[in-house]
Symmetry: C2
DNA sequence: GAGTGGTCTAGACCACGTT
DNA sequence: ACGTGGTCTAGACCACTCC
């Protein structure tokens, strides 16, 4: 039986061998199905998945071509920080530094995408690995989207973990950057004089409603964010 | 006609409304198909795609559950730098700073994953936006995988762009980090005294053969890498 | 207009893993 | 053992877009 994986591998093999170089036209679904002795749906799934991972580009009538790829689709997993630390074989530590309820001001509106005066909860906390500062978390939670957060002190559980358990989301936006830490941040993360921070920002939505904005900073010199390996490979 | 998108949206809607909270069991493909009056294959595609974007988790026999999601699948596009600059409405500039052929030494072997003594080409160049340094590129190319690079001076075209045009790849690995620049880098990027760099590293393979390792550094305070918005949303 | 991809259907068989 | 997901088939109709 010819599977869609077989077809996918066969196509990838021709691309890799440069028999079909970047820009080349790949046979139509029907031709591929005939050549491999399978149903058109099978060839379709192979091509569709190759297109999803950016290896080929498809257009009706124009056909399927080997993509001239820049470098699309680096996929990153950002795990719960506790899991990340424990997976590295270290002891996880947690300290809540601050918790306060605010009405949204202008600065927050830009980040959390809520209306003026909307109730929001701010939490600052520190995650430690083997007692060493690992990640500093600044978090704003929309109390409209997650009213249950009002009853939670976050003294023992991090907002990160609580949200994962309690509030789903349907859309997320991430940004990565490098920054020079402010004095407070430098002290909390016990950073060296010239050491930068690696910053992950995330905003999530539940349907149309913004749920949370978080800024996670790591000691830059000791942290690397590595992408999941490409799934397109054989 | 009920499409797989309809089914997907209907499921997402119940997740978003918390009718099916994180951890909840979702009806089986067969039940969903019956409920929506569609074929099982249609329900299957809806659930499969939701699983691919990490919204649900599937296990044979155990069924499909709303995922307890950390934050998986932030997808980043890393475009050709020239395109990135031009899309921002700026004038693109390019300067090749160095080009040299080496046999791979230990340091390179760790990064490029080639054998000792394998021939490699090193290129350093600078990309500018409106005359301002934008990105510094350190590149090693395996001459086994891309022998044609030997004939290319890279005086007028960046290795980035040349590789995209000439050599396909089937797998890539990315890492992002923050770093303190060395003096040379600081000068080339015209960085302020305390300004960190945002570093993107990429390794690519063509089948089993390593193709290239590149380190791209940006002025950290002026650069943000933002993820494509989630595709799961309605 | 004609070729290509996009999708649906109804049925089938199999693999896996929980029970 | 049995229920669930994983996949294939053969055929069909439609939508887009290039010529």
């Amino acid at each position: 039986m010819t599977t869609y994986r077989d077809v996918k591998a066969a196509i990838l093999e021709r691309i890799v061998s440069r028999e079909w170089p970047p820009g080349a036209l790949i046979p139509s679904e029907e031709d591929l199905a005939r050549a491999h002795g399978c149903a058109r749906a099978t060839a379709n799934r192979a091509l569709r998945e190759l297109a999803e991972s950016g290896i080929v580009e498809r257009r009706r009538k124009a056909g399927t071509r080997v993509a001239l790829r820049s470098a699309r689709g680096a996929v990153f997993d950002i795990p719960v920080v506790r899991v990340e630390i424990e997976r590295a074989g270290k002891r996880y530590g947690y300290r809540r530094l601050a918790r306060a309820e605010h009405a949204a001001d202008d600065a927050l509106i830009g980040r959390l995408d809520v209306a003026t005066g909307a109730p929001a909860l701010f939490v600052r906390c520190l995650h430690l690995a083997d007692g060493e500062p690992y990640q500093l978390e600044h978090r704003w939670i929309s109390l409209d989207a997650a009213p249950a957060a009002r009853a939670e002190s976050f003294a023992d559980i991090s907002p990160n973990e609580w949200l994962v358990r309690e509030i789903p989301y349907s859309r997320a936006e991430h940004a990565f950057s490098a920054a020079t830490p402010e004095q407070t941040e430098r002290d909390l993360l016990r950073l060296g004089a010239d050491e930068p921070v690696f910053v992950i920002e995330r905003r999530t939505w539940l349907g149309a409603a913004p749920v949370t904005y978080v800024r996670l900073s790591h000691p830059g010199a000791r942290y690397r964010m590595v992408s999941r390996l490409g799934d397109a490979a054989a």
